[in-house]
Symmetry: C5
Subunit: 355 residues, 5 copies
Amino acid sequence: MRKKTFRRSQKKKIGAPPGTLIHVGEQKEISVSINLIDYDAENLLEKEIRSVEECIESRDRPTVSWININGIHDVNTIESLGKCFDLHSLVLEDILNTEHRPKIEDYRDYIFCVLKMIQIAPDGKLHSEQVSIILGKTFVLSFQEREGDVFDGVRQRIRKKGGRIRRMGPDYLAYALLDSIVDSYYTVIERMDERIEAMEDELLLKPEPEDLEKLRLFQGDVNFLRRVTTPLPTLVSWLQRIETPLVTEDLGFFLRDVHDHAASISDSAENFRENVYGMFDLYVSSLNNRMNEVMKVLTVIATIFIPLTFIAGVYGMNFKYMPELEWRWSYPVLWAVMIGIVVGMSFYFKKKKWF
Amino acid sequence: MRKKTFRRSQKKKIGAPPGTLIHVGEQKEISVSINLIDYDAENLLEKEIRSVEECIESRDRPTVSWININGIHDVNTIESLGKCFDLHSLVLEDILNTEHRPKIEDYRDYIFCVLKMIQIAPDGKLHSEQVSIILGKTFVLSFQEREGDVFDGVRQRIRKKGGRIRRMGPDYLAYALLDSIVDSYYTVIERMDERIEAMEDELLLKPEPEDLEKLRLFQGDVNFLRRVTTPLPTLVSWLQRIETPLVTEDLGFFLRDVHDHAASISDSAENFRENVYGMFDLYVSSLNNRMNEVMKVLTVIATIFIPLTFIAGVYGMNFKYMPELEWRWSYPVLWAVMIGIVVGMSFYFKKKKWF
Amino acid sequence: MRKKTFRRSQKKKIGAPPGTLIHVGEQKEISVSINLIDYDAENLLEKEIRSVEECIESRDRPTVSWININGIHDVNTIESLGKCFDLHSLVLEDILNTEHRPKIEDYRDYIFCVLKMIQIAPDGKLHSEQVSIILGKTFVLSFQEREGDVFDGVRQRIRKKGGRIRRMGPDYLAYALLDSIVDSYYTVIERMDERIEAMEDELLLKPEPEDLEKLRLFQGDVNFLRRVTTPLPTLVSWLQRIETPLVTEDLGFFLRDVHDHAASISDSAENFRENVYGMFDLYVSSLNNRMNEVMKVLTVIATIFIPLTFIAGVYGMNFKYMPELEWRWSYPVLWAVMIGIVVGMSFYFKKKKWF
Amino acid sequence: MRKKTFRRSQKKKIGAPPGTLIHVGEQKEISVSINLIDYDAENLLEKEIRSVEECIESRDRPTVSWININGIHDVNTIESLGKCFDLHSLVLEDILNTEHRPKIEDYRDYIFCVLKMIQIAPDGKLHSEQVSIILGKTFVLSFQEREGDVFDGVRQRIRKKGGRIRRMGPDYLAYALLDSIVDSYYTVIERMDERIEAMEDELLLKPEPEDLEKLRLFQGDVNFLRRVTTPLPTLVSWLQRIETPLVTEDLGFFLRDVHDHAASISDSAENFRENVYGMFDLYVSSLNNRMNEVMKVLTVIATIFIPLTFIAGVYGMNFKYMPELEWRWSYPVLWAVMIGIVVGMSFYFKKKKWF
Amino acid sequence: MRKKTFRRSQKKKIGAPPGTLIHVGEQKEISVSINLIDYDAENLLEKEIRSVEECIESRDRPTVSWININGIHDVNTIESLGKCFDLHSLVLEDILNTEHRPKIEDYRDYIFCVLKMIQIAPDGKLHSEQVSIILGKTFVLSFQEREGDVFDGVRQRIRKKGGRIRRMGPDYLAYALLDSIVDSYYTVIERMDERIEAMEDELLLKPEPEDLEKLRLFQGDVNFLRRVTTPLPTLVSWLQRIETPLVTEDLGFFLRDVHDHAASISDSAENFRENVYGMFDLYVSSLNNRMNEVMKVLTVIATIFIPLTFIAGVYGMNFKYMPELEWRWSYPVLWAVMIGIVVGMSFYFKKKKWF
């Protein structure tokens, strides 16, 4: 129902020493696959990797090595990668734990970055996946929970000889990955935008009690989106300011660009939140409007008939001496009077816009 | 319905490398036109430009060259301008993408600034247009989505020999453009002010369910205005503090002035927002007041007739031994009693201010 | 209705070059009058000035010259004063434009300060007036929209030989003017305080639909007060920190004092705002309480009579075989039963505190 | 009704020069009494002082002199004390004006501090009193509006030879006074805590319209408490950071301790505020719940009887040919049917939990 | 009912000199027990301590000494420990006072840290316990209110020879304790998460007046959790930045890790708060929905029967000349008409979705 972000399953680790490697989260992929792309301006090597040791060679070459790991539930693979690239045990722990908030950390020899990737399933549900990126002097490691196609654009650009990405270092590659993740949020935002529009129309025209539940579910999604996107601009601007040889100065303008995108996404998420609050109010107002209308009409009907019933009651009394009862035209006159009352009251209520 | 600011159509760019030049937004003008005004204190040259190469000459002269481009959907023109003035590909991308938030960026050799211009159509709808301004050492480039008249005042001032604008550099020209954009917000704010006043009166006097929809639309406009104007004061004060040879010290007082205006506009937009919230409350309260009044009157009518109907019911009973039935004056007395009850209750309710 | 602060009539200036001198605002006084007080510890000169040139002489003397201008709609006077004291054209523009927010600006040779003076008319309406103060090396200029008596206290103190004000420089004079403006807010706050108290009592005891309108008007006043007083503490503390030869160090304690007052006034305005919100809630709750009470009483009446009417209906049926109808004491017994029902239900409802 | 904190009676001072000594506030004590305690580690002198001149001697001694003044409405006494200890006229003005917000100010030769002491009267009303403390090189002056017993603990500790307070300087004494004032807030907070608990229970179990008024009064108290306690932590942390020879370094840990207490008190006040908001909501919800319950029961009763009344009405019709009227068992059968309807509907409503 | 955090029982200390040792809080354990673990990479000594003096020896050894005290109500023990380890009297006061907010303080020779440990009892109630940790050059002191098992994991790790904790100093031990406390919050958060989910479902499906009380209790718990967890990230980041020889640089990454956890916990608590607010709204909306539904059905029933009753009333009139009364088929026709009215109205209301 609600997104229990960033905390499920942490429990089983309580008491374990920090740095203990346990996979936390759903196991989303059966087999783990590792791809290596090794390139510089001239050369390009792309291959599937079986054992982690194959990475060592390309780690030591001055070319840019991009190692992408799909599936992070295999603790052994992660651990041997960690040894191979000399990663801190806390980094490995964070990679395995998919309940993290987005963050970027500087470990001197490399920069470690955790992000969330979001997809909207055809049924409108949000699916999120954690992506960890490690930027070293000559390599970039990326860890995905399952094989995805967000990085395909980057791969294509690498394959094209002479592109900017081929001429630049691993920091530009890391930036490109970051950029394609940030870009992928736009799809989600567009879809949610359409959903909001549809819901607002529905709430305005025919609000129903069930909409309350729908709204709550949607609010959960919006809150999740906010929590995932709010830290983004800060993270990127941290990257802009950090003093590290790993990020060259040339990247400045590009980081500013991705910062702009991140800020605009985080803005949209914030707006969604206000929209949702507005929709709750709209729902209440709209339902109230409808309810009031119904009650008003019913009350008006009751109010018109009550005096009539009284009149009928009067002439149902059994007094011996009631002159009207004897009169020849009493009955039709009474009907006329009663119809007159109905017409008069209807007219009056109509004029007062009471129904 | 809602303004989908700053995100529509970004989708088609996902996966493309950063700096890819694609026009994002509505195509608002058919033909692209470029005007050049080249001036110093003594000389003034004003001409329509056909091909971008004509700009090169005036770029290299020490005079101030103002090149105004109307229509930004022609990617080729923008691209050749970019090459001619040595603009970063991210700048060109931002010029073409009309979904940006207002921002100012320092690219060392030039300052790049994106703003929104707002107009209110006669039917009260808000139309926005993106304006990009680039301030270089000897030139100012301005990009509008379509031909407008906001900059006409500046043109007039340039044509007048001896005016302050003729004696000062391109930074003052850029300031003058900024100032006329900021000034143009005042019209919008004035119009929205009148609209708020009219709506408040309507909500107070005759609230109707349809007002809910109207309020929502207006809220969308106010939010759009806020998003567009909120960054303005920060941007201007950033310009005030920036250390760049492009902005001379003499501009200080003028920037402070435009900062004041921007702050006052952003203030107004913020106030509008509170006004809109207040109007929602007003709407609910006002509708409730009316509803309550109606219900109260109807309930009072029902309450007066219920005891009367009971009395009539009593004397409609068929008991054999009911002394009142036989009595000669029962019927008129009963009428007197019933009228007395009506008068008494009306008086009581009136005194208690129940209707 | 609502205060359209800080923006009315700016429109007519759009497109004009910055620094254009146009009077913006209501013309509140017919004739412009200028007073000069020129003093040091020993001497005192006080005179009405006809032409601006008379000021030049006292400007160049080392004594303190206080020139007070009542009525600012005469652009020529302001302009020649500007030339005489070498004021920036933006300063003159700001003096003429009465729609400004309070601000203090340092123009190196002088400090320029715009404030609002507020008065409450006997009918409870707020009137505001803009006061501009310019503090130079040997002079203080003050511009009021119309002749007022707020500065009279300061004049009296200057006339008294040996007072502290006579021994100190123009910065102390400017402080004294500032202080008397800030002090004058207290009257307004006191009056609004009484108004709030009266309204709260009214809302609690006999809330009426008209109070909604009253509350909105009052909210407008409070918002105006807030906008005018909120910047005050910041402005004064800016004065405390500024490094300028125009403000001597001796003024420190006095500025801290006026800062305290400004902060306390701005606090009160902020509290008023919360009070107003509270009053809206109070109004709604109070009206609801009353409404509920009415509805409850009416419903209780209806509920008591409905069973009785049913009973009367039963014995109004025309069945041939209804033993009760024949029985001698049916009718009085039925009355007894019905009275019993009324008493019983009343008792029950009373016990349950339903009315 | 509402607390008119920090502003009452300021009016009479408007126009007076700053530093004018006028007592502002209620006169809470008839006679002014002055106590002197003069001590160092070895010696202790305690006496009642008649004329201010008696202080001079102990002022000049290197021992710690604590002069406590009860009753501040006697302007002359304050003025001569001011002369004796060379206090700034603004300080004297602040001592006399009991409408101040808590503040600490550094006057180089002494530190001036204004605080509020709060007491809860047995009837639950808040009484506040202003306490001013001046910390000089060898003396501490404390001004109370009336004789109180909050400082008695400090006096006791001074009298005990060998206590820490006797070994330390005037800064520790000032700290001890501050500490005992801050501690005294705990009583108030405890009492208000109990009051909140009692009110919440009342609101939940039997909400009544009168509670609205009670809540408002309580909210006034809470707001007063907040305004008085919110500045405390900032003031103390200002004392911690200030560089002055008057506060020795040894005091650091003690100031941190009092800062903790102040922060916890200010926290509690902030919590009270949320509690009060919560109680307003609770009141509205609780009253609504009760109201709804009442309306529901009454409506159910009406709804059950309306069909019965209709049935009775049917058999009260005077048609010549109504077979049921002639049938022998019609009447008892009808009763059975009607009782059946009542039971059925009750059962149905009960099952649906409608009452 | 509400959590009276951080203030109960402080009262009895008012007036006492600062640093007075009084146990403030519930006495949660009868006997006080002290455990000593003394270790370095090679050696490990674990023993129960009877008298405080036994600690002195291990205090002076260069090994890491961890002294854990269960039960803090025995003032004498605490006092002699204080003397033994040369602790400031304010520290001892803080250890004894269990009403403190979480804080970390630097006393140069040692760092003093107060935290709250939270447990959820099987009945869902929150129990909190104060833990104080003192980190010295060669020792770590930890004070718990009663014997708990949160530190058992740390003990196990110490016992395992060759573990990281055995190779590192007392700062790592203190970190490990901090980490296990922070980790223990996850259990609480998980439990509250489940509770929220259960309550939301309940509120949505069958809201009842009693839920208001439940919600308030839960809100109290959430507020308590927030107050306890909100300061955590700030405290840890303060530890990260502090310059002290007590915290070695190696601890940096580990502190960043615990900071992440603290921030995520504090985030969750903040989310809970929004959830609770949302649940209040949900409760109100949901109850209103149900109420409205009931009222609508009942009103519809009444509205259908009122015209029927009127018709019956008409033919109950006793006019002499009413042709319908004589007609043979009047009665069955009338029934047909009345059934027709019921069906028609039901159909109409159904179509309009009024019930």
